[in-house]
Subunit: 186 residues, 2 copies
DNA sequence: TTCCTTTTTTGACAATTGTCAATGGAATTC
DNA sequence: GAATTCCATTGACAATTGTCAAAAAAGGAA
């Protein structure tokens, strides 16, 4: 998801929001493999990928499953934890050396309390995430592994150059072997 | 999704919201097969199922695919349209004679304008929908057709008594034939 | 470079699910 | 209650994807 991609009738408010976000954001350079968030803990930050590549993942029957990728300008957090303040099932990891913007949930909550009309943008943001997820469900339900892979490279061609295939495979819901064969096929 | 299931630190606000919702809601009794919303149009209502059973569905390669079921106390709308005011891909249909509460998007927008702190509940509502969807994705990715079916009857046992199996099958992402064989199996 | 680790590919086989065609049964309508 | 439509099951076969084991290729560290 990307802040500022929102369509709004009130561009003033949106600009003001983005400026206010800048004020509470802290950037940090971090190395590949760094964990921004660890499962079982409550996630207290919204992360903005200023530079680099990040994924969220979790373990299912001992297997590492990628739930989501984000790169430049993307927003990411442990969505099951950040808003509801519950321990998360997700880990968030850097796949490259990256520059990450941290927004603490406390600062964001204060901002929303101070300016409740910003809730609207939070809602819109989540609506967008929701719509992306619906696409993903349809993709899983109605497309073969090959079609899902083709969709991915059509929509996110950069991903393949920057991310290991085992992560791509788990993201697509297939085994690494199947992905390998799909890529080989004519 | 169900309004009023929200966890909140400020029960006063939530009660007030529910009362305000009551004021803008209009109930209507409608017969089985009635379409609450038709694809290609913009959905101007949030529907509350007071009594009965409702599904949203769409057509994929000519096949009727159920996206969602709602029964008593559930909220349903064309989620791709209601908030973003775009033509929807979904239809919403009554599977039984039902009593449906209509909340117009204009009335809701006015309410949110008048009391912007309600945006928070809209956001929470959508977060809940999001979390349900994530569950559904995981279910599709990591469970066999039989496991998905077993999960469904464990979580929504009433559904089977009230809904045709072809709708259940498309909701689970399998063919009717496969569902039939799963049900037969020991 | 050379070694070591990680990532990717390949092969053989099994399990799951889909497709198409036909049949059986239940519910609805006239 | 007979006819019609809708819904559900079954059979035979094909296609897709998974599993397990091994080999090859690529990438990093010393």
């Amino acid at each position: 998801m990307i802040f500022g991609n929102l369509i709004d009738t009130n561009q003033f408010d949106l600009k003001e929001l983005l400026a206010d976000i800048q004020k509470i954001k802290i950037n940090e350079s971090l190395a590949k493999h760094h964990l921004l968030h660890r499962e079982g803990t409550i996630c207290n930050h919204l992360f903005i990928v200023e530079q680099g590549m990040v994924r969220s993942f979790y373990y299912k029957d001992g297997k590492d499953i990628t739930a989501h990728f984000e790169m430049e300008n993307g927003l990411i957090t442990a969505i099951d934890s950040f808003f509801q303040r519950k321990p998360s099932r997700y880990n968030i990891e850097l796949l490259e050396d990256s520059v990450i913007g941290f927004i603490s949930s406390a600062d964001l909550a204060n901002l929303l309390k101070e300016k409740p009309h910003y809730e609207k943008y939070m809602r819109m943001q989540i609506e967008q995430i929701y719509i992306d997820l619906v696409d993903r469900i349809e993709n899983l339900l109605f497309h073969s592994a090959k079609e899902r892979y083709d969709n991915l490279i059509a929509n996110q061609p950069l991903l393949l150059q920057r991310v290991n295939l085992n992560h791509i495979a788990s993201f697509l819901g297939i085994t690494q072997e199947t992905l390998s064969r799909i890529r080989k096929a004519p």
